[in-house]
């Protein structure tokens, strides 16, 4: 078997675990083979053209450790919220859904690596009609090495939940998460992620979501931390389902972040709204790749994608690629992208009312960023995200 150089160190540390069920051992072996044959993606791969993987390629990470904390609040009957390790033992039939064919195929190398190596993660599963209120929370803090987390969210029809993930840590480490999401018919999931990793960290997050008819999936991401980070969200619509995908990335120093979202309309009558906001200061770099795909027969699709970025420094840069692939005629699809600095007239208006230039800039940046979270339904959650943004702005 041909092994790509950069993948070799990860092959060396791979150890089959005899205690695991056969299906899992088998899947891990396949995923490992797929990863080592494929290696890291390169900038020639369209989906990775804006992401510089050098920090990862320069120095392979040993398997590391993180602390995974689950804050369930009060769980109603019909709700399962536990670690992946525990779920594998107690509810293997649920855990199995966390690994899919694409992990074994190698098209997404880091998802394959994750499938081969993961030790833990979280699982949230709701029975039909169960409503989870208030939100459940996951906090992961890391310190060293590479940490692969495999997460799973399964909402049975007509259930509702809000889940908040937070990633933090200190030191040089690599968090690589893969989250499989399934939202049943008429169910509704609000999925919030705050990436606030330490300044030397690398963070990759991949979400693959499949929606059944009339499901609602809202995904909000706030990217603040890590030296190199990437968030992939891939959603497959059901008939008449609703997707609300929004993200804000605030970067400074020499941080580099990519948001790559793919929304696939294979079923008719579904709605997508995407809104991404970037703020890039100092020498940071941000990228947004967004694809909306409307397949043949997906009539009455209504999709809108917006990406906006502010460059605050001469050395900051941004790359944007908003893409539409439309193969059905009776659709409403639009995208807009803009890059620039703060509007001069607006800035002058604030200053003409006596607000100092730094304060004025902060107010406008905050307003710019928080637009991404306007559709977060819970006011406390919205307030929490706003507070994180404010902390970032005041650290300038």
């Amino acid at each position: 078997m041909a092994v790509k150089t950069e993948a070799a160190p990860y092959l060396d540390v791979f150890r089959p675990n005899a205690g695991e069920p056969a299906w899992l051992r088998d899947a891990r072996a396949k995923a490992r083979d797929a990863f080592v044959a494929r290696g890291f993606p390169s900038r020639r791969d369209e989906a990775w053209r804006f992401t510089n993987l050098r920090p990862l390629a320069d120095k392979p990470f040993e398997p590391g450790h993180g602390k995974l904390e689950l804050k369930p609040g009060s769980l109603p009957k019909g709700a399962w919220f536990a670690s992946m390790a525990r779920t594998l033992i107690e509810k293997p039939e649920i855990a199995r859904r966390a690994i899919g064919e694409s992990d074994l195929a190698g098209g997404q190398p880091f998802a394959s690596l994750n499938a081969a190596m993961f030790a833990d993660g979280f699982v949230l599963a709701l029975d039909e009609g169960v409503t989870l209120d208030p939100p459940v929370e996951i906090v992961h803090s890391a310190g060293d090495g590479s940490i692969n987390l495999r997460n799973l969210i399964v909402l049975a029809p007509s259930s509702r939940a809000t889940i908040v993930e937070r990633y933090c840590g200190e030191g040089a480490y690599w968090t690589n998460t893969v989250t499989t999401v399934s939202v049943g018919a008429g169910a509704s999931l609000t999925h919030v992620k705050v990436q606030d990793e330490g300044p030397e960290a690398i963070h990759f997050g991949m979400v693959r979501a499949a929606l059944e008819p009339a499901a609602t999936y809202r995904n909000f991401g706030l990217t603040l931390g890590a030296n190199l980070s990437r968030q992939d969200v891939q959603v497959a619509h059901g008939i008449g389902s609703i997707v609300d995908l929004a993200g804000a990335y605030l970067q400074r120093g020499d941080q580099d972040t990519t948001n790559a979202v793919v929304v696939d309309h294979a079923a008719p009558g579904a709605t997508t709204r995407e809104l991404f906001k970037g703020v890039l200061d100092k020498r940071s770099h941000g990228a947004f790749l967004g694809t909306i795909r409307v397949r043949e027969g997906a009539q009455k699709t209504d999709a809108k994608q917006t990406s906006r970025a502010l460059l605050l420094s001469d050395r900051a840069s941004v790359d944007t690629k908003p893409e539409l692939e439309i193969l059905a005629d009776d659709v409403k699809c639009a995208h807009g992208a803009a890059v620039g600095d703060l509007d001069k007239d607006t800035l002058f208006y604030l200053r003409a009312r006596g607000i100092g230039i730094d304060e004025a800039r902060r107010m406008l940046i905050e307003a710019f960023v928080l637009e991404a979270f306007e559709t977060v339904e819970q006011p406390e959650l919205r307030g929490h995200l706003a507070a994180r943004v404010r902390v970032w702005l005041e650290a300038a």
Partner: protein, 247 residues
Amino acid sequence: MLEIKNLHASVDGGREILKGVSLTVRAGEVHAIMGPNGSGKSTLAGILAGRDGYDITRGSVIYDGRDLLAMSPEDRARAGIFLAFQYPVEIPGVNNMYFLRVALNAGRKARGEPELDAGQFLKTVRNKLKLLEIDDDLLQRGVNVGFSGGEKKRNEIFQMAMLEPRLAILDETDSGLDIDALRVVANGINRLRAPNRAIVMITHYQRLLDHVAPDFVHVLSEGRIVRSGDKSLAAELEKTGYAGVGV
């Protein structure tokens, strides 16, 4: 209070717009600056408030003994200058109330006064709101976002009432107002006339002057003040047009 001497200004690197404007404004006075389109009225307002994009080639502006042109826009605002914008800017995501409180407290802080807490601030807002017949819910929106033309202009005067400037410059505040809105705005302005406050109204038409009687009227044409007089000059202009006064 304000002393403009032989002010020459051009748009960045281009055409000269003001060609020697001189004007003295004392506390308690209301001045109207009138003139046809393109005469330099809005340029003058912009320069006084510190807008970017103009080159001052000659002349000076002294405000309370200070060189106004050397001050940043926010320092001018904190020193009591208020510009009511001809086209108030929409600022999505910045709540109107929040904006006002930050602005008000920035001025208070600069003057060494204590900042208003939320309760005191709210009380002040309630008082002034009535004056301009502004709906409460407008204040909960983003600054000027989704406001009608008239609401924007009323909001400008409301901000003026809140910030209590010493020198207010109203740039075409009457444009785009229907007769009822004009009366409300004019009423607001009249209530803000005070012995320690000067008001400069910039306008194309004299209809605002029917409601707010100026002490002095100046006609600006091709970058110069070509005539000055009392309010009868405005009436004359109304009858004869700008051509009638030799413009």
